[in-house]
């Protein structure tokens, strides 16, 4: 069981390799089944890892038995394992949806998908900043290829922007890592936290520059206001299962922000504690505003959902900027909720677009959808959830985040932005829904019915929302626990570097 923590990284990699080998690669059915079964096993393993972390507290695994801070370590705390569970849950839904036919529109869909899951899980589990960079690149190169899956002008155009931007981001990431390594002499996150707390005054400015450059990189991945222009085009042009998986990609940026600015530059970091908060709060609030305006202005449904992703990112980044345990707990719950519901909306947008003939997902009058009851019901459920209306998970998420703002100024800002944006989102969604389902013109429906597998995967993601409400008690407790663990930096350092700290004192 000690090696369980490596499973979320190794299993997708081995699955991807296995899918590319001849006996499986030549048969589409085998590829699909292997991919789906592996995703299901990954979900089970992730939940087992979560239980293990619950029982034993923070786990760390020295790869190759090279102890921290010299070797690369994997760290599983509650926060990262919850994110891994979320990814596995989402990936299973997206793979099932892709297996209904989308995967055969290009080659190597399943291996690339598995490689991307590997990168995402690795990014969550790593305890080393350079390793984080490596896993970012793994997930990015898989996402580049997945983005142009099935081809088309729009995808190529969006991919050029996406790739160039992310390569620039990687360059900045490396520069900041070099600055931090040059001054701190380590890239292990726990060790860096220790070194930052005892930093000589002359290195202060350099570390600050390095730390803030990291913020730029993560803000680019998370799509925060001045760096968000790539997101709507990229997400709306990607094919549906890919867009659904991309819903978790922006959250990786948020996760990295949370990790770096609460562990390395956290409350114990002396002068450098909270260096990013002054920048992140206004940027996050502005992202919420821009996303809400984007929802109102969108001409097609996929763009609208992409803008909903922006709203959720803005909300999360503002929560990260508050830098309290409460806000981190709210951010975790809201991440789970918003990722699942936006992914479901991306899949639903594809189902609706397939049934509306030429109008596709544009918000103009078009043909009647073939399954108005099924799709309409799913749309209403998703819309109510994402807007945050009472019986669904969005409401609890919003409640937690509104409660997390305790300072008067922050509370005023966050409440007004979040509540007004919710109103705009409701207006935008009701406009979109009434256009998609009620403004009918032309001949009767003639599209294809949704495949059972597609309906299953949308339901899989959507039903998570009622479950998040029913089990809201244990889940909020889990998020509070994760936040407490995240902010208990000294305990983390002691567990990870326990031996090496005592050894370091002797010479």
């Amino acid at each position: 069981m000690w090696h369980l923590i490596t499973a979320p990284v190794l299993l997708p990699m081995l699955t991807a390799l296995l899918i590319m080998l001849p006996p499986i690669h030549y048969s589409p059915m085998r590829r699909r089944w292997l991919s789906m079964v592996s995703a299901a096993i990954q979900l089970v393993l992730a939940v087992m890892l979560l239980l293990q972390v619950q029982q034993q507290g923070l786990l760390h695994y020295a790869v190759g038995n090279w102890q921290a801070p010299f070797g690369i370590i994997l760290v599983a705390d509650t926060l990262s394992v919850v994110m891994v569970c979320l990814t596995s849950f989402l990936a299973l839904g997206a793979i099932c949806y892709g297996s209904a036919g989308e995967d055969e529109k290009g080659s190597f869909f399943h291996p690339l998908f598995q490689f991307q899951i590997m990168g995402i899980n690795g990014a969550f589990l790593t305890g080393d900043l350079f390793n984080l960079f490596v896993f970012f690149e793994v997930l990015l190169i898989a996402s580049y290829a997945l983005l142009i899956h099935a081809g088309g002008k729009n995808k190529t155009k969006a991919a050029v922007h996406y790739v160039v931007l992310n390569l620039t981001g990687s360059a900045i990431f490396l520069i900041s890592l070099a600055v931090l390594y040059g001054t701190l002499g380590t890239l292990n996150i726990a060790d860096m936290a220790l070194k930052v707390a005892a930093l000589p005054a002359e290195d202060m400015m350099l570390v600050k520059a390095g730390g803030l450059m990291l913020m730029i990189v993560f803000a680019l991945k998370a799509a925060v206001l001045p760096l968000q222009f790539w997101l709507p085009a990229t997400y709306s042009s990607a094919s549906a299962p890919v867009a659904a998986l991309f819903a978790v990609m922006t959250k990786i940026g948020v996760y990295a922000l949370l990790r770096v600015y609460s562990t390395i530059f956290g409350p114990d970091a002396g002068e450098l504690s909270g260096i990013a908060a002054d920048w992140l709060l206004p940027a996050g609030l502005a992202t919420i505003a821009l996303g809400a305006v984007g929802v109102m202005a969108s001409q097609d449904f996929r763009k609208l959902v992409a803008n909903l992703v922006l709203v959720s990112v803005g909300t999360l980044v503002s929560l990260v900027a508050l830098q309290t345990e409460l806000s981190a707990a709210a951010a975790l719950y809201y991440t789970v909720h918003s990722t699942l519901v936006t992914a479901a909306l991306f899949l639903l947008a594809d189902l609706i677009a397939n049934q509306r003939g030429k109008a596709a997902d544009r918000l103009v009058s078009g043909r009647r959808v073939i399954q108005p009851v099924l799709l309409g019901f799913m749309f209403v459920l998703a819309a109510l959830t994402v807007a945050g209306l009472p019986p669904f998970s969005g409401f609890i998420g919003k409640l937690m985040l509104l409660q997390a703002a305790t300072e008067p100024t922050n509370r005023l800002l966050l409440w007004s932005f979040v509540l007004v944006s919710s109103l705009l989102v409701i207006i935008g969604l009701s406009r979109a829904g009434s256009t998609l389902f009620w403004r009918i013109s032309g001949s009767d429906a003639a599209g294809e019915k949704a495949a059972p597998l597609q309906v299953f995967s949308v339901c899989w993601l959507l039903l998570a929302s009622p479950l998040l409400v029913i089990f809201a008690g244990p889940l909020t407790e889990l998020s509070h626990q994760a936040a407490a663990q995240l902010y208990d930096t000294s305990a983390t350092i002691e567990i990870i570097l326990g031996q090496s700290v005592s050894q370091g004192e002797t010479p």
Binding site: F130, I141, K153, T156, K157, V163, V164, L174, I175, A178
Partner: protein, 117 residues
Amino acid sequence: METLFACCIGFLTACGVFLMLRGRTFPVVLGLTMLSYAVNLFIFSSGRLTLRGAAVLGTAEQYADPLPQALVLTAIVIGFAMTAFLVILAIRARADLGNDHVDGKLPDAANMKKESR
């Protein structure tokens, strides 16, 4: 040595940024390549510049930090793969979109004239 090294990195970065802001994909790819050279040199220097520093313990008085060398190797490999992918993507974009502009469409003729003046 430090000044020369720093100027070198600065010059490469400046060229890279300038080229990246151009409108066509080929200069952008070149710009990214230059930027990645600058970044690699910079990572290399983060272990401090020393002359005749051995990387193996117990063979010399002065040691070079081996970690930046390992980091730079990883960064070079990743950067190389990414650049290769970008080149292929740029060629495909040229084929799909009919031109090599990063936005997929050439700016209007009126703007083009202004630029050439």
